[in-house]
Symmetry: C2
Subunit: 369 residues, 2 copies
Amino acid sequence: MKIRCQKSDLLNSVNIVLKAVPTKTTMPILECLIIEANNYGIKLIANDMELGIETMVKGTIMEEGIVALNAKVFSEIVRRLPENEVYISVDENYTTEIICEKAKFAISGRSGDEFPSLQEVERENPLTLSQFTLKEVIRQTVFSISDNESNKIMTGELFDIKNNELRVISLDGHRISIRKIIMKEEYEERKVIIPGKTLNEISKILSGEVDSFVNIFFTDKHALFEFDDTLVVTRLIDGEYYRIDQMLSSDYETKVTINKKELLSCIERASLLIRENDKKPIIIRVSDNNFELNINTSLGSMKEDVDIVMEGKDIVIGFNPKFLMDALRVIDDETVDIYLINPKAPCFIRNKEQSYIYLILPVNINVGA
Amino acid sequence: MKIRCQKSDLLNSVNIVLKAVPTKTTMPILECLIIEANNYGIKLIANDMELGIETMVKGTIMEEGIVALNAKVFSEIVRRLPENEVYISVDENYTTEIICEKAKFAISGRSGDEFPSLQEVERENPLTLSQFTLKEVIRQTVFSISDNESNKIMTGELFDIKNNELRVISLDGHRISIRKIIMKEEYEERKVIIPGKTLNEISKILSGEVDSFVNIFFTDKHALFEFDDTLVVTRLIDGEYYRIDQMLSSDYETKVTINKKELLSCIERASLLIRENDKKPIIIRVSDNNFELNINTSLGSMKEDVDIVMEGKDIVIGFNPKFLMDALRVIDDETVDIYLINPKAPCFIRNKEQSYIYLILPVNINVGA
């Protein structure tokens, strides 16, 4: 193989496929990335068996071929090359020369034969979203997946497609995050569970532009994301997702309308008094159009009032402050509505259109205290 | 005690004294900072027994007093307060209320009685430098102190004052860094060894402005740095420093003049092929006005040429690339002169005025190879 390309193009593509190189693996070949030059162009490939990425590099092919190179070593070399044209040539023993200006590296490569190829996914009937929308919806929901591998389903997000509506849902046993997107077209009904790790990696690669698009293709076991010059293939998580609709309720006893930024800063300050592994809740007391937040830990106590508009009954309720902060940080509205029922029932943060719903379970507190 | 001050002023001062709060200590009182309000003003103090810092906070005193507060908790609270006036009041049990806008924290404090006061240093005959100069000279030398506590002297820097010249020197057994500063006044001869850790912390606090000054006072055992509204007291390291003048030589067999940035990038690229704990040297071959850098490790090999102007004999010599990079990174000149004698003798990077001298020992290589 003999190719040449610009350092910046090569580095961009290397950074994309790096997302699918596992940090720990029992299969050393997976620590490699593949460079393949043939009549389709120059392609980089990486695959950690759950997530696989292929992306094209602009460049010129002088001789076709394929090689597997240690991804970490190759990427660090490329990163430090001068900003100029890079020549890569591979000999019959897979020794790979990388030449840029006066720098000349030689590293040993291996044949790409052992490398597991990406799962083929038929490209028919894609779901199409803007890169911006997909990147945002991941950010707005992925924080509430569970990282406990013993419950595989909770480590993924449900993509629930029905007519022209996509709902993206995550939950971890303490909270549920739901974002609803209205699409331009109608789609076949479909529910798939996509690994959260994959979505995190995809969101890092997406440019996030409003006028670039992502096509998503599904099979029973896999999903393929196609955007720019990149293909990302991921396994889906097997099983049936939780029936969340029966957990959602529109009833409430108390409705609080509050400035989001003020509330978030106030909870952030309160959480300073919580040390790691300390499960102290914040206590919220809503009464007479006043919202009082209290916390009391071994480090000290804090009390702060926040202005609100309220509707309904007074209530005293406790929360894990992290769960409130996670939700508030991904809501872009200036004011939010919080719906409460009683100190043991979940609270809901949602807007009128229900384009977002964040359900958070309260923490038991001794209300008499 | 009752005081009020602006959050930003308080935070600045807290950040300064935090540098003297130890992360690990067997004396819990040292994890505190002191707030003292008396007729001199509002003062914050921290002390880790080697390094002590005092700084003033602008503000108003309604009631004098003193309290010791956990530095970590207090600083995190202050950091998150709204940008507004902060009221601090301490009751007779040292419970401390911190109030800013609607946020009201209460944390428990302790009496300042147990807290070790800073060593008194008589303020006579200071050495005066601009903040810029002191900050720069620390940056340009402190990287080559040793972190091996078994040889205490190597963990500090020699400040060698003679007439109107200050030389700052550090060494770690493999290299020596020397910076010479010409001062406006003549000073008494004096040699002191200042702990490298102290210098690192001071350099973080210094604003680095050319027209702000630092006064440095010395006793046999301590040095006091006075600048802005801050006093830093440090213990000195006991003992006699190495006689470095006899290690410096002006003789050379080969002189290489080279573009600093090109050389540095080239060594940085070569060092990519070195894994941690791998002691592979880079090999430099100087001949016929050509400078060829080679490295060969388990990860691969690299070769690169750099343009030079040379004088004297050809030479092949090996170096630990880190030592060359450390020195080159703190030299601001566009081109540097490197003086070489033979493959076993130290190399010198120095300018004509000898305002900097970096001595680096070579690594033994098999020159026949």
